[in-house]
């Protein structure tokens, strides 16, 4: 069930629009988990940040006092889609920063299909570029992790930067769905990446 649920953040100052949109989403076939926020800053400090698939936002909340928060958004939530809620005039420069837009004239079905298309484009992206198979380098990092090495130690041993280690780790977690060291050990064993004889702690 969890994988079918889309986690949506909603940043919309108008209560009518915000409630209306929430209702439309909750009644649709797709299962949504909706979180309401007053600002992007609030999302940044929230624990749901990493789960978010879509951020629905009123453009006025993305450009406050002529400051562009788009890059800030991409930095804090790199994996979510940004969807504008449009009911007044905004410059095309602003409109271009959205992955999709919902207009005030859209019907419930329209809104549903806009979000649906968006998510499909993402899953195609995922299928192409993020298969669940670990690359050789990721396997090397995994072995080091299982042996209890820190990021720094791994970087030294494999002669790569700490930054690269961190990004390999993220990919491993993303591909396997497993975070903890003991979980990763079990994964590595079952995929024959490590063998029980090499594993001292057993």
């Amino acid at each position: 069930m969890k994988n079918n649920t889309l986690h949506v953040a909603l940043i919309e100052p108008s209560q009518i629009i915000s409630e209306g949109l929430t209702n439309i989403l909750l009644k649709s076939k797709q299962h949504y988990h909706i979180y309401k926020f007053d600002s992007l800053l609030e999302i940044d400090s929230s624990t749901v940040k990493e789960k978010l698939n879509i951020v629905l936002i009123n453009p006025s909340q993305l450009y406050i006092n002529k400051t562009d928060y788009y890059h800030y958004f991409r930095k804090i939530i790199p994996n979510a889609f940004l969807v504008g809620i449009i009911y007044s005039f905004f410059e095309s420069r602003i409109m271009e920063s959205f992955d999709a837009v919902i207009k005030i004239s859209d019907s419930a079905e329209n809104i549903e299909s806009i979000l649906d298309k968006l998510m499909k484009s993402k899953s195609q992206f995922r299928n192409n570029f993020l298969s669940e198979v670990l690359s050789d380098r990721e396997k090397d990092v995994l072995v080091q992790l299982v042996n209890g090495n820190s990021n720094k130690e791994i970087a030294d041993k494999l002669n790569i930067s700490i930054h690269t280690v961190v990004s390999h780790r993220k990919n491993i977690i993303h591909k396997t769905g497993i975070k903890s060291q003991s979980g990763l050990t079990i994964y590595a064993l079952s995929k024959k990446i490590i063998h029980i004889e090499d594993f001292a702690a057993y």
């Binding site: 069930m1 929430t22 396997t176 979980g183 050990t185 079990i186 079952s190």
Partner: protein, 239 residues
Amino acid sequence: MYQIKRTFIKPEMKITDLFFENPSLLLMMEHFDLNFILNNKTVEEVCRDNNINKELFISIANLYNGFLQVNESNLGIDDLNLIIKFLRNSHQYYINEKYPEISSLIDLVHQENDTPEIKLVKKFVREYFEDVAEHLDYEDKTVFPYFLSLVSPEAEKKSATNVSVKIYSEHHSDIESKLDEIKNLLLKHITLKNDRKLRRKLLLCILELENDLQIHSIIEEKVLMPLISKVELHHLNEK
């Protein structure tokens, strides 16, 4: 069985119709300590007969029906006892029913597959359940009694608690993410022999638990904690 339908529950609906549609509502009834003999009563009647705030009942029932939003503004201090009873009963369900069920299924898996990784999975699961049990025990013995003391008439007025919403949600996200790992390991990554029935049973069992845990967290974070903040604020203003 675990299932989610999308009927948005309203006071005038017949409760047994809702059970037929989504049997996991029966689990909710257990958590509420309510019997199932309901003679075609409506949701509203069931609440009235049992002296339950219908806003609370309907909100939680709708969580079970997949509407993961709660409006706590209609809930008051009087509801606290019932909410805590509900949460305590769900703890019992996890510890006495769900965890043994999952453990024994994994034991069966182990019987069929005596491999190092399954041994480690058993250890992983056992340690996970121990951690969770410890956390639930802390809630039952420390957190909930403190909350109840805030609303009891003879309560000495305490000013603040160190139980924060943040600590709460961190604990829970950890509980949920470990369960996710167990699910991924057993159902995605590890190769098993003779596994069809066992995997089906395990998956259903874990999903049932996962669904209830998710609702549990929402109730604690979106209903219980805001209510406690209200009570604490009230005490502060009295001082």
